[in-house]
Structures are given as structure tokens and as C-alpha cells.
């Protein structure tokens, strides 16, 4: 019996650690190898899984159409298990063994940072699907990193969009409640940094731990202030708990959350308590409600229907959208410039007016994100559904 238990334990461990590798059969012309390091399992699996699915879907689609200039795409996707150390190992493997021409990833800022020096060291382009501005700009020198691009909207854009909304609604006193991890710290930093510019007065600045089960204490403190709106910056289950506690305490301020909650899982968890929450979000979740003239509408609906047809019952998500943009920007540049790294890099930098899932990308030598705050729209949750605020 002990042996059986041991055997099961080993099986479990093996199951947890194996990486997903997708290799395709060789066409006549040598394939273009594109690598990806994605957080498919572990803490950020909710983000990484749709990214992996999207990359697989797009590569398949492109190859069915004959690939790029006769070259098929070989998409090599490794799972870093949401672990920065493993991300490094996998990135090294892509660069040294697989000899890829470009790397997509990683899913989170925390897993992207450690792979930057590896990919940059090999002098091939890296297109991250994570949000932090520090990915494309060296925080010490304030210089744009020449080889690194990203497709997820920066926190500062989301914060600007929120503050814009508050200015329009004549709200100036704001309380913050943020989670103590990479995502929360980065959001809190931007909220505090941009507040004076928009004449926003932060009257409370509360924090909570990633694993905290109850935020009543922090919200009680906020309730005692004269804040007109509460901004919560957190992902995963934290925001749902804040939403519930907020409602239970009978608080009447506007509750605003980050773009990190723009997924179905949040609606499922928070239930009724989600109603009335306002957030900045990419256009994907409200694609159907966009005006017909919106340049992103067509590609969003197209991506959505293809993704949901292929991976049903999975629903399309913002994060898969970031992977979509990364793949498209990379392959568009590849079509024009070919696989030579310096040319490919320069071509990505020339991306103009590309309507993707995350917004309209206009890159440049000093702008490797290419988005403005208009990448976001303000959305309110009503009756358990996302509703575009006009």
C-alpha cells in the first residue's frame, strides 16, 4: 500500500512537471521556428492557457494557408509553470537548442523579466504578452530596449482611463485597496504617480495579501473616510472577495477595479456582488456592443468566433487576445522582412495602424508598446454582463 501511495505520488509529480511541446511535420522549405514561453500551468494558468490555445490555433491557420512565403511556421510552446526560474530554463532551451527566430512570452511581468536578458543576449526579438512598462523600457536608464516589444496594455493606460472617467464624473476623492504582489504594486504605483496630474486626491491607501480571505477590515477603514470612489487593483479571487465585502458592508461609493478582472471567472466568483462595478477593459469583452465603425470590431468578433468554435466550452479572453496580437505583429513583420533578426526587429518597430485585440498598435523606435489609453473602454457590470459605457 505504501508503494502504491508512492507510485501515485510520483505519477502526480510527473503530471505536474511535464512541458507541452508542439512540433509540426516538416514542409519543403525549412520552417520558421517561433518559440513561446507561456505560464500554462501554475498560478497564472487562467491567463496562460488561452494564450497557448490562441498561438496553436493561429499557427495552424497560417500553415493551412501555406505559411509565410512558402515557409511553414513551427510554433514551439514551453510551459514555465508560472515560475520565473523555469521560464529562464525554457527560454534558454528555445534560444540555444531550438534556435528559434523570435520568442513570444511570458504571460506575466514576473516571468517575463528574467527571460529578457536571455533573448536579448541572443539578439532575436522578444514579444511579451505581459503588462509592465518595465518590460520594454529599462527602468534604470529609461531607454527603450531595442529587442523587446509587448502587446498587453500598460497599467498607466488603464489608470489614465480610470482617472479620465472620474474627472468626467466630477469625482476627486478616491480610496485605494490593492493587493501586495507584482500586479498590485505596479498598479498602486501608477495610481499614486498619476493622481496629481488628474487632480485626484487619494484619501486612503489600503493593502491586502494575495491569500487573504476577508477584506472587511480594510474596507471598514475606507468606509470611515470621505472617499467618493474605491479603486481595487488585484487579480484572481481577491477582487471577488472585495466586491462581496463591499456589498455586505453596504458601501455606496463607486467601486472601480482594474482591467485584470475582465474575465468570466470573476463574474462566476463574485456573482451578484459584481453588479455595479466599473472597470477599464480591452474591447474584446464588449465586441458585440462596439459601434460598427470601430476598426477593431471585425477582428475581435472574428477571433472570438474562431476561438470559441475550436475550444468550446472555453470562452475567449483578453489574455488570449494579447497572444493574438503578438503572433500577428510578429508574423506580419516576418512576411515583409524575413527571418533575419535585425531586419525582423526593425520591421516590428515599423508596425503602424495594426488593429489587434488590445487596441490599435502604432509602434516606433521609442514606443515598443504602441498603444494609447484609447486601447481601453470603460465597462460596467450589469446583471452579470459587461456593458460598454458610452
Amino acid at each position: 500500500m505504501k508503494k502504491l501511495a508512492l507510485f501515485t505520488a510520483i505519477l502526480v509529480i510527473c503530471g505536474l512537471t511535464f512541458a507541452t511541446v508542439i512540433a509540426r511535420e516538416k514542409p519543403e522549405k525549412a520552417p520558421y521556428k517561433i518559440g513561446a514561453v507561456i505560464d500554462v500551468t501554475g498560478g497564472a494558468s487562467g491567463l496562460g492557457e488561452p494564450e497557448k490555445q490562441t498561438l496553436e490555433m493561429l499557427a495552424e491557420e497560417l500553415n493551412a494557408k501555406g505559411g509565410i512565403n512558402g515557409h511553414k511556421i513551427e510554433m514551439i510552446i514551453y510551459d514555465n509553470e508560472s515560475d520565473p526560474t523555469k521560464a529562464v530554463t525554457k527560454a534558454k532551451k528555445l534560444v540555444n537548442e531550438d534556435k528559434v527566430i523570435a520568442v513570444i512570452g511570458a504571460t506575466q511581468s514576473g516571468t517575463t523579466f528574467p527571460i529578457i536578458p536571455i533573448v536579448v543576449g541572443a539578439k532575436i526579438p522578444l514579444v511579451s504578452v505581459a503588462a509592465s512598462w518595465k518590460i520594454v523600457t529599462d527602468p534604470d536608464t529609461k531607454q527603450t530596449r531595442p529587442w523587446v516589444f509587448k502587446t498587453a496594455q500598460s497599467d498607466s493606460l488603464a489608470v489614465s482611463k480610470i482617472y479620465d472617467y472620474l474627472n468626467k464624473n466630477k469625482i476627486s476623492k478616491v480610496a485605494l485597496i490593492t493587493v501586495s504582489n507584482g500586479f498590485g504594486d505596479s498598479g498602486r504605483g501608477e495610481l499614486l504617480r498619476l493622481a496629481p496630474e488628474f487632480k485626484i486626491n487619494i484619501v486612503a491607501d489600503e493593502r491586502f495579501g494575495e491569500q487573504d480571505a476577508d477584506m472587511t477590515a480594510q474596507l471598514t477603514k475606507i468606509k470611515g473616510t470621505d472617499a467618493q470612489a474605491v479603486i481595487c487593483w488585484c487579480i484572481q479571487k481577491g477582487p471577488a472577495i472585495v466586491a462581496k465585502n463591499f456589498k455586505d458592508l453596504g458601501m455606496t461609493q463607486k467601486l472601480i477595479m482594474s482591467h485584470g478582472i475582465a474575465n468570466q471567472k470573476f463574474l462566476d466568483l463574485a456573482g451578484d456582488a459584481a453588479n455595479g462595478i466599473i472597470l477599464p477593459a480591452g474591447r474584446l469583452i464588449v465586441a458585440e456592443q462596439l459601434p460598427l465603425t470601430d476598426p477593431q470590431r471585425k477582428i475581435l468578433l472574428d477571433y472570438k468566433s474562431k476561438f470559441e468554435a475550436k475550444f468550446s466550452p472555453a470562452k475567449v479572453s483578453t489574455f488570449g487576445g494579447h497572444a493574438y496580437d503578438a503572433f500577428m505583429i510578429l508574423t506580419n513583420a516576418l512576411k515583409k522582412a524575413g527571418p533575419e533578426p535585425e531586419k525582423l526587429r526593425a520591421e516590428i518597430e515599423k508596425t503602424k495602424n495594426f488593429a489587434g485585440c488590445g487596441g490599435i498598435f502604432n509602434m516606433g523606435p521609442d514606443d515598443h508598446e504602441g498603444l494609447t489609453k484609447d486601447a481601453f473602454v470603460m465597462v460596467e457590470i450589469k446583471g452579470g454582463k459587461w456593458e460598454l459605457l458610452k
Partner: protein, 293 residues
Amino acid sequence: MEWHSQLIQYLATGITTGAIYALVALGFTIIYNSTEIINFAQGEFVMLGGMIAAGLLAMAGMPMWAAIMLAIAFATIIGIIFEQLSIRPVKNPSVMNLIIITIGGSILIKGAAMIIWGKDDRPLRSFSSSQPLHIFGAAVTPQSLWVMTGTLLAVILLHFFYEYTITGKALRACAYNRKAAKLCGISVERMVLFSFGLSAALGAFAGILIAPITFTSYDVGTMLGLKGFCAAIFGGLGSNPGAVLGGLVIGTLESLSAGYVSSGYKDAVAFLIMLLVLYFRPAGIFGKRTEKV
């Protein structure tokens, strides 16, 4: 908000989480009393209770009370199987070996739960309406009251069980002196099995009570288990009233420190208290000072 309603709010929140810690701590003491081992898989039974109940409720047509009963029953069975497969067959059952086995068991249960239910957090609906009650300006959810009364009920039942039933008395006898209990004809093996079942049931009950407030997922057991362990140490391992008091004290202090100091230090409070108790009163607040001569 007035200062006193703020204080009541913190206390209500603290007592709610404290009650859960108390139930987890009771699970620790029950097993400690009959085996002298610390069952580090205790937190996983809390997780199992919540996850099984959520899983059953997701299946259509199951009423709440039936899901709760079944979840507790399943968790109890898993507790018994756990004892049968991992504790009983050990050839060299030193306390240290057994404790390490429980850590292994906890990792196994957690891993299995992740594979079965996935990594997402799951909601469990409240037992009754979710409209909060206002008590002296503080908002208290009905689920918090369920947690408090549920814990109270469990503690009272447990007390009567230990004081007035033959099995309860046999369990106490094992706790006092196992060899003597054996000589009196009490089957210590059966008592150990029984205590694993009982503490699994208590843990699962705690997991179900708290899930509507905090959600549940495959990894909630670890932290709850550790907090429950701190509570058990605080009260003196092996003392039931001590475990309950320990849970309530730690829950309340956590909530107060999150409110008045900073929520960043909240988790540190429990462990700090545990360290202080271990330094200054190693036997715990209610612990027996003179142990075994």
C-alpha cells in the same frame, strides 16, 4: 463611521475567521490526543469539505443540506482511508516518521484535488440569504452567524461526546495513558482510526462553513491548516478548550491588526503569537504543566 462600530466590525470579522481556526485546531488536538502526532494534513480536510460541497452543489438538484452532509461523509471516509493506508501500515511508527508521513499525505491530497477540480477558485452559495444584518453600525453577514453557531454547536457536541459517551471516554483514556487504556481492553487502534475520522469530519465542516465567505480552491488548506496549528499551540496541544480559545484569539488579533496597523502584517500576527507562546509558555495557555511525571 463611528469608532465603536468600526471596532465591532473588526471583532465580528475576527471571530468569524477565529471560529474556523478553532475548528481546525480541534482537529489537531483530537488526533494529537490519541496518537501524539501532529497531522499536517488537517488543512487538506478543510479544503476537501469545501471543494466536495461545491462540486456536489454544481451538480443539478442537490439541496444544500444534503450536499453538506455528503461532503462531510466523503471527507470522513477519506480521513479513515488516509489513516488505514498511510499511518497504520508504518513499520517504525515513531512520532517523527508519522508527522512526516502526514506532510506527504497533505501534498498528495492537494495534488489530487488540483487534478480533479482544477486550479480555479470556486464559489459556494451562502446557507441562507446574503443580506447583511446591521448590528451597532457593523455589517454582519448571515453566513458569519452560521459560522459562529456552527462552531459553537460542534464544540458543545464534542464536549458531550467526550464527557458522556463510552467511545468519548475511551478516547480520553487513550489521551491520558495509552498503555493503561489498552490494558483496560480499549482497542487503541480503533480509537486512532476513529479520531482520524472525527477530525476529518470537523475539518470538512469548517471548510464548508467558511467557503461561502472566502471561496474555496485546491490550495486553501495549507494556510488554514497552519493557522489552526498556531491556535492549537496557543491553547496547549491536546486541550480542547485551549484550541477553541486559541482560534478565537488569533482570528481576532489578525482582524484588529489588519484594521488598526496594516494588513501586511496580518499573517505575521498568528506566527508571532505562536513563537511568543513557545518561548514563554511552551505548554500553551491551557496546557498541562506536569506532563507524564
